[in-house]
């Protein structure tokens, strides 16, 4: 199984969720994060003191999937989250040893 972590622009959340549903992903965990990267931030101005905000609001999706679905999932995210502008985000994939569904105790693929 694979654990996919995707960093996205916040307003893409709903579209990505739909795209993932279409490829059969039934569970997602979402976290609000702040991202620092190539995309430049904005300035804020408080009583004449200007300062640079480098951390931008992003959302992080964590999705556990069977390895077989990996390409499909990456493709789905890429298609929808891509706006062509710097700051669209990344997809990170790592290996997943084990999954347990707490309610039933089912493990691995059955638990997804």
């Amino acid at each position: 199984m694979k654990f996919v972590t995707a960093i996205l622009r916040p307003h893409k959340l709903d579209d990505v969720r739909e795209a993932l549903s279409e490829v059969g992903v039934s569970g997602i965990t979402v976290t609000e994060v702040k991202g620092f990267g190539r995309q430049k931030g904005h300035t804020e101005l408080y009583r004449g003191a200007e300062y640079q905000v480098d951390f931008l609001p992003k959302i992080k999706l964590e999705i556990a999937i069977p390895a077989s679905k990996l390409d499909e999932v990456i493709e789905a995210i890429k298609n929808v989250a891509n706006s062509g502008k710097v700051g669209d985000g990344k997809i990170f994939v790592s290996n997943l040893d084990k999954v347990v569904r707490i309610r039933t105790g089912e493990t691995d693929k059955d638990a997804l």
Binding site: E44, L45, Y46, R47, G48, A49, E50, Y51
Partner: protein
């Protein structure tokens, strides 16, 4: 109208002091509520929103504790120092515990209990304004001790000088340009210097944690200021009405001037700038409010914003003084230029910009009055600076002034009060 006005304004004739006017009483009770509202929750929110989350409760708490303690001190002895006796520099103790105030004592056309209460709300907000100078780093015990001594040693005597029959009685200060804003502004500046900057200042940005709170507080200050300046007429008539109109125009002009100035200078108009300009306009019109007309107020509001705007930048960026919430450049500077401009725009020789108000404005000669105003400003600035410095040093010896580095890091809410602001 004439008669009524005469009665209302009559300086204490033989019959006057025994007559309570219901309308005046109604208005001053309302004004009292409005001025309390300025501090709680107005100023508390205005200041609270500007600090970082970890210190939000410390600011709110300081406002509340100051409100409580100053009230008690005012009742016990402050009012007596400010408003009793014939000494030009310091009142006497004949009205300790308001001993001479009963149901039937009258001040002008209102019950004296109300006059003492109205003045009490001023005695609350002035030390509360100083919080902005030492926010986010002062020990809570030091805040209490400092504010208490300061009320009795600085605020009450200066009130006596200007409003209590003291030696500055001919300074035009309608609602507290010297008494409130200069004293608070100077004290905040001295406190900021004596305590030193917050760690990280000026390199580390310390943006407001909740701008909606600050704007809410600012709005409350605007509304409450109608009681502050309008109530200072101590009567419900044309005087109070004109003071409110001038106050409102100065606030509006101050807000809009700052907004456009910032827009031009930095490319964007900010909400914080706008409300800061509003406060600058309000602080500056305060001494002048009942003496000038709306056109004068427009000019005063405009100048207030331009001057205070630059003062903020100079203090922070040039002198690198961490007057954390800009009390001095807004209130102190505003109070100074407002007191001076009162001496100008009170004149009836200025056409549409002439003064208004139910007082003997025939007598004003600008040059002479400016000199009087200037004396008032200088005396207030110097005395406040020196006394505040000494008080801070004394308090430092007793409680220590600042929390240590680790405590400052963790934030005053947990360190001083074992609470946190939000658990959303």
């Amino acid at each position: 109208m004439k008669l009524l006005l005469l009665l209302a304004l009559m300086p204490m004739s033989v019959f006057a002091e025994e007559v309570v006017n219901g309308a005046d009483t109604a208005w001053i009770m309302t004004s009292t509520a409005l001025v309390l509202f300025m501090t709680l929750p107005g100023l508390a929110l205005f200041y609270g929103g500007l600090v970082r989350t970890k210190n939000i409760l410390s600011v709110l708490m300081q406002c509340f504790a100051i409100a409580g303690i100053m009230s008690i001190l005012w009742f016990i002895v402050g009012y007596s120092i400010a408003f009793s006796g014939d000494n030009p520099y310091f009142g006497d103790f004949s009205n300790v515990l308001l001993a001479q105030v009963s149901m039937d004592t009258v001040n002008g056309s209102i019950p004296e209990s109300l006059f003492a209460m109205f003045q009490m709300t001023f005695a609350i907000i002035t030390p509360a304004l100083i919080i902005g100078g030492y926010a986010e780093r002062m020990r809570f015990s030091a805040v209490l001790l400092f504010s208490s001594i300061w009320l009795l040693v600085v605020y009450a005597p200066i009130t006596h000088w200007v409003w209590g029959g003291g030696w500055l009685g001919n300074v035009l200060d309608y609602a507290g340009g010297t008494v409130v804003h200069i004293t608070a502004g100077i004290a905040a500046l001295v406190a900021a210097i004596v305590l030193g900057p917050r760690r990280g200042f000026p390199k580390k940005p310390m943006p407001p944690h909740n701008m909606t709170m600050t704007i809410t507080g600012a709005a409350m200050l605007w509304v409450g200021w109608f009681g502050f300046n309008g109530g200072s007429a101590l009567a419900a008539g044309g005087d109070a009405a004109m003071a409110i109109l001038s106050t409102h125009i100065a606030a509006s002009t101050g807000a809009i001037t700052w907004m456009f100035y910032e827009w031009i200078k930095f490319g964007k108009p900010t909400a914080l700038g706008t409300v800061t300009g509003m406060v600058a306009g309000l602080g500056t019109i305060t001494p002048a409010s009942g003496f000038v007309g709306p056109a004068g107020a427009l000019v005063i509001g405009f100048i207030a914003s331009i001057v205070c705007f630059n003062a903020v930048i100079i203090i922070k960026q040039k002198f690198k003084i961490d007057d954390s919430l800009d009390v001095f450049p807004v209130h102190g500077v505003g109070g100074i230029i407002g007191t001076l401009m009162a001496g100008i725009f009170a004149s009836k020789e200025l056409g549409i910009f002439s003064g208004q108000g139910g007082w003997d404005r025939e007598a004003i000669v600008i040059a002479d009055q400016l000199q009087i105003q200037f004396t008032g400003v200088i005396a207030t600035v110097v005395y406040t600076a020196v006394a505040t410095y000494i008080i801070l040093k004394v308090v430092d010896m007793i409680t220590g002034l600042r929390v240590n580095e680790e405590e400052e890091q963790q934030g005053l809410d947990i360190i001083s009060h074992e609470e946190t602001g939000y658990d959303l």
